[in-house]
Structure formats: structure tokens, C-alpha cells
């Protein structure tokens, strides 16, 4: 009866939700509560999303080369030529 849910937690205002892990629960409301208990009990979060794991479409290891390798040699896409001031932490 229990299904699997993926949990996304936002650490604080201004940051985005980050995948934290997964929980079992019978429905979305219970999944949200389980996620709260499992992933935010050390003060990690201000907001939680839960998504049925079955609703996530993921790339497979087989697709790794065609998906990700072509970007490796395009250094001009990386903004590595800028000097960031110290105060800018979240980029």
C-alpha cells in the first residue's frame, strides 16, 4: 500500500529545493510528514516538496555518454573568467 516519494528540502529562503532522499508513505500528506521527521529534524529546512518517485523520469547510465560528454570540451560555456567578489557566496 505504501509507495515511494522523493523528498526535496529548501534549506533557507533564497535557496532552491534540493533532493534530500526518499520516504515511504501511503499518500502525499503522510509523505510530507515523514519527510519532515526524517530529513528536517536537525533544522535543515524551511520548506519541503514530496513527489511520487514513479513520476520522475530519469536519465539512465546508458545515456551517460551522449548526454553529458559533449559538454566537456566547451570550456567557453563556463563563466570561469570572472573574478567573483568574496561576498558573493551563492552562485
Amino acid at each position: 500500500m505504501s509507495q515511494l516519494w522523493e523528498v526535496f528540502v529548501r534549506g533557507r529562503r533564497g535557496l532552491s529545493h534540493v533532493h534530500a532522499g526518499s520516504v515511504h508513505a501511503a499518500d502525499a500528506q503522510m509523505a510530507l510528514r515523514n519527510a519532515r521527521d526524517v530529513y528536517t529534524r536537525r533544522g535543515e529546512g524551511v520548506s519541503i516538496w514530496v513527489v511520487p518517485s514513479s513520476q520522475i523520469t530519469a536519465s539512465t547510465p546508458d545515456e551517460k555518454d551522449p548526454f553529458f560528454d559533449p559538454s566537456a570540451d566547451k570550456v567557453y560555456r563556463h563563466p570561469t573568467f570572472y573574478n567573483l567578489p568574496e561576498e558573493v557566496r551563492q552562485m
Partner: protein, 262 residues
């Protein structure tokens, strides 16, 4: 032990406050102990963590309240002395919190009944003129609200779930119902402290509790139990059979290895 004997607190108002803080602290402590018995035994690991999280919230409340009780008593007893070195007849928790876990539905029913009461209590106690009690309530009210939500969600899902879960949830509320009137009994200590604005007279919380429980029963398709007998005596130190076993387990380590640290 001689160091612990002292004249005690001579402030005449300290004694009722001591009794009151001890009662609230004992309720939280004993329910925390019962809930922690679920560690590694809950139906799912998520629920294992949920129940023990709730236990830890309650233990935190118990520590603050028992520590305060020790100060009010003025006899040199700290929170550990009060938790681990009192005998059964010296504990003043209500019978509801000491009831065995039973199946998951019983644990949830106990949790629903207690958290609904504790939430109402803390909402009132926030405005206590006693700074420490008000502080415990301000912190505890958020915890109790979550405990209440957790129990409510489960009661609805079990009650309005399968035939088997409905049967078990109904059996659980019937088994535990007789332990609920004791939550709202008040005596001279409660009334005196309520009159001073220090404590809350528990009898004033009953109608709010009944209303909230009736709503949950209705969403959960549960029938309100019709039992007429009720269990009393916890506040006077008279307890039900299972309580001695609970204390034996809770106090064993401290009594065997006094002042052990880890």
C-alpha cells in the same frame, strides 16, 4: 545522600507549583518512555523516526519541567533524581500516558487523546504569570500541534482505511476512552494556581478537547465509545499494573550504575 537533605523551599506558594510542574513533567516523561519503546519496532522506518521524534520532544519538556520542580522543591533534587529515583507511588502522571503501546492503533489513540489535551493546555499556559511555565508552553505548543497533527492524520487513515484498520482503530479508542476523564480532573492545587494565573484548571479544557476529538472521529468514521467507567488516581500516585514494569525498565540503568555518564 545527606547533602540532599535541606530545609526545602520555605516560600508557601512554591509547594503547589512544585506539585503542578511535577504533574506536567511526569505526563511528558512517561509518555516519552512509552513512545521510545517503539524504537526499532515501528511498522516502517519513517514511523519509527516519527514516534521517537515525538518522544524526544516530550522528553525535552519533561526535563525542563522536572528541573524546575526540583528548584521549586528546594531539597536539592535535580531532574535525574526526580526521574530515576522516585518510586511508583511518587509519580503523578495520569493513567493514559502509562498505558501499554498495544498495537499501532492503540499507540495512535493514546497519542491523539493526549496531544489534543496537551495542545489545549499549552495554548492556555502560554499566558502563565510563571515565566518558566510560560516558556515551556511556548516551546511545547508547536511540538504538541505537530504531535496532534500526526495522530489525527493516522487516526483518519486507520479509521477510514480498510476493514481491519477500522476495526483496530475502533477497538483502540474504546480501550483507552476510560482513561480520558482523568485528564480533566482538577483539585485544590490546580484551582489555586489557576486563580493566581500560574496554572490552568484542566476541567476548563474538556469541552474544547471533546469538540476536537469528535471532529476527528467523524472524519475517521469512528463511533464515540459509550463506556461509562473511568480510571483515576494517577495524580495521587496510584497507578495501573503496567506502570511498575515501565519504571523498572526506565530506572534500571541509573539505579544499577548511579551517576553513570556516556
Amino acid at each position: 545522600m545527606t547533602a540532599k537533605i535541606s530545609a526545602g523551599n520555605t516560600d508557601p506558594m512554591a509547594r503547589p507549583r512544585f506539585i503542578y510542574a511535577l504533574r506536567l513533567g511526569d505526563d511528558a516523561l512517561i509518555l516519552a518512555q512509552r513512545l521510545s519503546e517503539w524504537a526499532s519496532r515501528a511498522p516502517e522506518i519513517e514511523e519509527d523516526i516519527a514516534l521517537t521524534n515525538i518522544a524526544l520532544d516530550l522528553l525535552g519538556q519533561a526535563r525542563a519541567l522536572l528541573d524546575y520542580a526540583g528548584t521549586l522543591e528546594g531539597a536539592g533534587r535535580d531532574e535525574d533524581d526526580l526521574a530515576y529515583l522516585r518510586t511508583e507511588r511518587e509519580f503523578t502522571n495520569v493513567h493514559l500516558v502509562e498505558q501499554e503501546n498495544g498495537d499501532f492503533a492503540h499507540t495512535i489513540a493514546r497519542q491523539l487523546f493526549f496531544s489534543t489535551y496537551q495542545l489545549a493546555l499549552y495554548e492556555e499556559l502560554i499566558s502563565s504569570t510563571d515565566e518558566l511555565l510560560a516558556g515551556v508552553a511556548a516551546k511545547g505548543v508547536k511540538e504538541a500541534a505537530y504531535h496532534n497533527d500526526h495522530a489525527t492524520q493516522w487516526t483518519i487513515r486507520l479509521g477510514d482505511g480498510t476493514d481491519e484498520s477500522h476495526r483496530r482503530m475502533q477497538a483502540a479508542i474504546e480501550r483507552l476512552w476510560p482513561f480520558t476523564p482523568e485528564l480533566f480532573e482538577s483539585d485544590d492545587v490546580d484551582r489555586a494556581l489557576a486563580a493566581e494565573g500560574v496554572g490552568v484548571d484542566p476541567s476548563t479544557l474538556r469541552s474544547r478537547w471533546a469538540l476536537s476529538i469528535a471532529e476527528v472521529f467523524s472524519s475517521a468514521t469512528l463511533e464515540a465509545p459509550q463506556t461509562t467507567w473511568s480510571s483515576h488516581g494517577g495524580r495521587r500516585g496510584v497507578h495501573t499494573e503496567g506502570f511498575g514494569y515501565l519504571l523498572a525498565e526506565m530506572q534500571y540503568l541509573h539505579r544499577s550504575y548511579p551517576d553513570a555518564k556516556w
